[in-house]
């Protein structure tokens, strides 16, 4: 059995001459901490979207064959984007609501953060019968069903969020309107999303 008194004595030494010794120990420990921190960064950063995922930022879709009442879903960044050619009734229903009555009056356009959630703002400018938005419920990420819910737009079956025919939240737990991504027409019938 060995009893150790050495450590206490070492500490005693340190107290004898605090400045140089303390500075050395602190500098070493600080530099070690910097090293560990620097080493940690690659292990954290590796979880960010990688270069190939970032490069897949756009999808193209041909909407030439859409008829009123048709809807297509295209994948963009791993999420569905709804493109719906709305009927006259659906457009009329969307027009009939005052923005001030909406739970979320913001337009949620990626192209214009100031816009209000009017039907006009959310419609596709080139063809206002069309609406294009990310088909992911703003509550917890489920995919809403189309032509469903109390407002004839979309209905999220997970927690009962009702969206109208302009994709605006009207009732239920979802906090925001369905977001509209950046897109552009690259020909008369082809839209590039992203």
């Amino acid at each position: 059995m060995i009893k150790l008194s050495t450590q206490a004595e070492t500490q005693h030494d340190m107290q004898d001459e605090p400045t140089r010794r303390d500075f050395l120990f602190i500098a070493t420990a600080a530099m070690g901490a910097v090293g560990v921190g620097g080493l940690a960064w690659p292990f954290i950063a590796q979880m960010n979207p990688d270069a190939s995922a970032l490069a897949l930022a756009s999808s193209e879709v041909d909407i030439g064959s859409l008829q009123p009442g048709d809807q297509v879903s295209v994948m963009w960044r791993g999420k569905p984007v709804f493109i719906r050619y709305r009927t006259e009734e659906e457009i009329a229903a969307a027009e009939a609501v005052e923005v001030s009555d909406l739970p979320d009056p913001a337009g949620r356009l990626a192209s214009d953060e100031e816009a209000l959630a009017t039907n006009e703002a959310r419609s596709v400018p080139e063809n206002p019968a069309l609406i294009l938005m990310i088909g992911v419920c703003t509550h917890l990420g489920c995919i809403p069903l189309s032509e469903a819910g109390e407002f004839g737009g979309w209905f999220c079956p997970c927690h009962g969020s009702h969206y109208d025919t302009a994709g605006r939240i009207r009732r239920g737990p979802a906090p925001e309107n369905l977001p509209i991504p950046q897109y552009e027409f690259i020909s008369d019938t082809t839209i590039r999303i992203g």
Binding site: T10, A27, T28, M31, G35, A55
Partner: protein, 280 residues
């Protein structure tokens, strides 16, 4: 998604110019001549790629090699990323527009061909290895990793010295030596249809005909338009293709080593201080 190239026609034309026979009887590796060592800008602790050289190397690849050789792990976007040839985005978009890739299915369930985008990888000249062998007689290897996959063993004592000289450019040295090492004077023995090349690792005869000729590529930057320069440039390009993060790696390595040296010095002083009271 399967990729097909619009360049298949061109490759077939080239294929006719290339011997349609596999390389001759395999010689044991190690019988070939050791590659001639070149000065590379990317060698050593502070090595970086020469942008202009990578751009010329890409030109040689695109105008010549790509008819038969794939570059399937490189995306068009890589050409503009830091640490590589660093073409401008407009240049890369123009490059991508020359290629067509198969995409789909569309809403009717049909596959369709479209212009390549930045995110697409270089479509291979042949849809698969079998098609390449059928057309060429031997498989023209994919360029993406070739500069790291073709490293002739160095033997003793070379492999020990390499640790200290940091020599790891045997891949590009080999490719350069091979491309410039054809012996046109050589008379094949009867029945041998390959091309004599003493640097070839897998025998004396290689299926690939000499691919480079003086003046066949027009350089915009006034570099010599010689076989030697073409071979050097395309070898450097292939090294980048195989190791696109080389510059980042060496730069980070220098910083890490410097950090460890200083930190090690501090730890050593601390250690001396701690042990100073103890005979050991």
């Amino acid at each position: 998604m399967a990729f097909f190239s619009s360049r298949s026609l061109k490759s077939l034309v080239i294929a006719a110019a290339v011997a349609l026979v596999p390389a001759g009887s395999a010689f044991a590796a190690g019988d070939s001549k050791p590659p001639r060592m070149q000065d590379w800008s990317f060698a050593g602790v502070f090595g970086t790629y020469d942008r202009a050289q990578l751009q010329r190397g890409y030109q040689v690849f695109a105008e010549n090699c790509s008819a038969c050789h794939a570059l399937s792990r490189i995306a068009f976007r890589n050409l503009m990323e830091p640490g590589g040839p660093e073409f401008s985005e407009a240049e890369v978009r123009a490059i991508a527009a020359n290629y067509f890739v198969m995409d789909g299915p569309d809403s009717f369930g049909d596959m369709f061909e479209r212009e390549a985008r930045l995110s697409d990888r270089f479509p291979p000249p042949f849809p698969n290895q079998e098609a390449a062998v059928a057309a060429m007689g031997a498989y023209p290897p994919d360029f993406s990793l070739l500069a790291k996959a073709r490293a002739p063993t160095r033997g003793f004592p070379g492999f020990v010295i390499d640790i200290f000289t940091q020599y790891q450019e045997n891949g590009p040295d080999y490719i350069y030596s091979l491309l410039t090492g054809y012996d046109e004077e050589h008379v094949n023995p009867e029945g041998e249809l390959g091309h004599y090349n003493p640097y070839f690792m897998a025998g004396e005869y290689i299926a690939m005909a000499p691919p480079l000729f003086d003046g066949m590529h027009v350089y915009q930057d006034g570099s010599p338009e010689t076989i030697d320069q073409y071979a050097r440039d395309v070898s450097a390009f292939m090294m980048w293709a195989a190791e696109p993060h080389l510059e980042q790696r060496k730069e980070m390595g220098f910083r890490v080593m410097a950090f460890l040296l200083i930190f090690g010095g501090l730890v050593y002083m601390t250690k001396r201080r701690v042990w100073s009271a103890v005979d050991h």
